[in-house]
């Protein structure tokens, strides 16, 4: 990556991502109320947005705004950590497959293909059902179903590098396989990895929201955006704002990481 000025995609995406990090880190200071306790007597009859509660209150009398702010924590922790784990698995598998070729590639890529044939959400649901929902299990499950795309791209990039002169030179100097991969190949595919990381964060965020929506996310009382949408279904016709705000929050986060990813991509391949 060059040192050129940030493009607008990066700026907007970065600002969104940064704002989420700030919200998550300082949630207790920013949120006006406790996100789990009732602050209004709107039991069974959600309160509309007002000056006191800008996003309204839900059927358990909780402040929706505070829940949104705290919800950023779960989304970011799950989204970013799951992305990190998925990237680690995907990069390792792709590098090995591309570098060693032969049986290693055969086995690794067929596993990848099999994983890709299974719909991610279904696979994740099956895993969560076995493991029982908790922050750690959800994080692992999401990474387990998200690494395959990364592995494929990294393998392709690696393949295109292995016959390049600098690799051949290093090989001729007697560099070991590990050294070749880590010192020579990895830095050269790093820009791709960065793009993939940003883009797959929006994927893991969305998967986390999907799992929460299906009731398989982080267990209550921890606020999560997906669960907020799920719980507000009952009030879809009478209190639409309950589903609107968490939906908007999911959109905001996914959009942010996607913009960031495309910004990085544009930097690599200037048009």
């Amino acid at each position: 990556m060059g040192r050129a000025r940030l493009n607008w995609l990066e700026m907007v995406g970065g600002a969104i991502a940064l704002s989420l990090v700030v919200l998550a880190l300082f949630a207790p200071h920013i949120a006006p109320h406790d996100p789990t306790q009732a602050v209004a007597q709107t039991f069974g009859d959600p309160g509309p947005p007002s000056l006191a509660f800008p996003c309204g209150t839900d059927q358990l009398g909780r402040d929706v705004l505070s829940r949104l702010i705290y919800g950023a924590r779960v989304s970011l922790i799950v989204g970013v950590s799951a992305m990190a784990v998925a990237m680690t698995i995907g990069v390792a598998a792709g590098l090995c497959a591309g570098f060693f070729g032969g049986w290693t590639e055969m086995v690794l890529m067929r596993i990848t293909d099999v994983m890709l044939t299974l719909p991610g959400l279904l696979l994740a649901m099956a895993f969560v059902a076995i493991l029982r929902p908790s922050l750690l299990s959800i994080l692992l499950v999401i990474s387990l179903v998200s690494w395959t795309g990364v592995a494929r791209v990294v393998r392709a990039e690696t393949l295109s590098m292995t016959s390049r002169d600098f690799v051949l030179a290093a090989r001729a100097l007697g560099a070991s396989a590990g050294r070749l991969m880590i010192r020579h190949l990895l830095p050269n595919i790093a820009p791709t990895i960065v793009v993939m990381a940003a883009l797959s964060t929006s994927g893991t965020l969305l998967l986390d929201a999907g799992l929460s929506f299906l009731g398989l996310g982080v267990p209550p009382p921890t606020p999560s955006w997906g669960r907020m949408v799920e719980e507000s279904q009952i009030y879809f016709r009478t209190a639409p704002w309950l589903a609107f705000f968490p939906g908007l929050a999911i959109l905001y986060a996914v959009l942010g990481f996607n913009l960031l990813g495309y910004g990085f991509l544009r930097r690599r391949r200037p048009q």
């Binding site: 789990t36 306790q37 009732a38 039991f43 069974g44 279904q233 009952i234 009478t238």
Partner: protein, 548 residues
Amino acid sequence: MKGALRGLVRGALTAMLGLLWLGCQAHQPAALFPPDAAVLRLALADDVPTLDPAAGYDTASWEFEQVLFDTLLRYAADSNDLRPDLALSWEISPDARTFTFHMRQDARFTNGRPVTSADLRYSIERVLNPKTRSQGVQYFLPLLGAADFAGGRAAHTRGIETPDPYTIIFRLDKPDPIFLHKLAMPFAAAVPQEVVERWGDDFARHAVGSGPFMLKEWLSGQRLVLVRNPHYFIPDLPKVDAIVALIGVNEELQWLKFEAGEIDVSSIPPAEFTYVMKTPRLKALTIHHVTATTDYLGMNCQMAPFDDVRVRRAFNYAVNKEKLVAILNGRGVVARGVLPPGMPGYDPDIGGYPYDPAKARRLLEEAGVRQGFAPVVWLTADPTMMILGQSIQQDLALVGVDLVLKPVAWGPLLDAVREPRTAQLFLLGWGADFPDPQNFLEVLFSKAQWGANNDTFYSDPKVEELLAQASVVAEPTRRYALYQQIQQLIVSDAPWVFLYHPVAYVIRQPWVRGIQLHPLRPARLDYIYLARSEAARPRTPSAAKAAP
């Protein structure tokens, strides 16, 4: 997974419905009947399990069985009072062991043959016969000689006598004050021997009874059609000519069909309930009643710290029951004890445990429960239960208890609560089969039910003694007084957090009249009628198509 992507699904479903409707024009069930026929149109999510009264033991089967067949007695439309059905009158011996019924002589099966006492004896012996594998067998084993008959050692049950074709006498081996209610269950309905023997296990598909309706057509997974029984002995029943129940229409789809005027009565999906209640036009069309059910938070009395009555009482004070009812949008009545309103022995003056977090905190402190105590509550992974669970979680957090929710499926939940020392806390409900307090107090709190229905593993010697006493007392005042005393002991020992009695809702079209919800049973379809104002009814789809 239900409710995912609702908007999209809804749009797609509407489109599909339209296509389906076009595709099914030729088979419109409405075309089966003359244009002026009064047809009650219903929809069911799942196929009816059975129409054989010896086999059915669920709401859907009973809804139709109770209008295809007759029992000696039936319940009044909206209460637990017993009324004559096949019986005209009856006598009970003072020791509640001999029951004599005088039957009406004008009842006929829909094949034209009169219903006699021999038919009733055959029907009950059929339930007792192990080859029938009926779940109703438990209710008739107390008949004298029932075990001998079931074991193949006797041709008939000694405890059923038929001195003439229209008199039947039942004798029991010990007093059973609620035997009359057992005779009002569909298990005791009269079936014609010759038809049962002709079809064998397939009788459900060719059901012949003596009720107000007869079976016209049952296409598995498609529709069930009942038509008026011309031989029925009450002249003005049933009030409609036919019932068409579409099968395989889930709750959401039922609602769409209801809004389109395609079905006459519908349940209300949870997602639409608040909308219905906030729309005066729709709210006026709802019918509701308090069910004979109590929903509760069970506490395992064998597991610390819930072996300490102070902790159990503290939980009762800590949970805000009024809030739960508000969250249910009023679909519940706060419970103060075990018995639901309408159940004999229900005590409106029982104090129960008002919401009092300060008292709860004090009791927990006395019992030495540390702050941050984190018990696990087992509950079904149902959206409504999850919200109620979170409400209880909120309440308990205020008294220093960090409740952990463990959502599981219904089967594993039942397995877990029946295992000793497994589920500390659990959210369950209990609905009555009979209008008698024994059906709650003995079934749920006697030691004999450990591992079955007594899931709190509660046991108290005084309660055991009183339960044994009360079960054989036939005289109502004394019987119910004993059960009230038992209930007071149980409420004081607090093995449950008494939550609420659910209120059930259905919605009808403006032209549908006469629906009466029963506390124990499905509503009787033979009492429902349609207002004869064509302006109020939309034209049937077949008529609409024929117009151009």
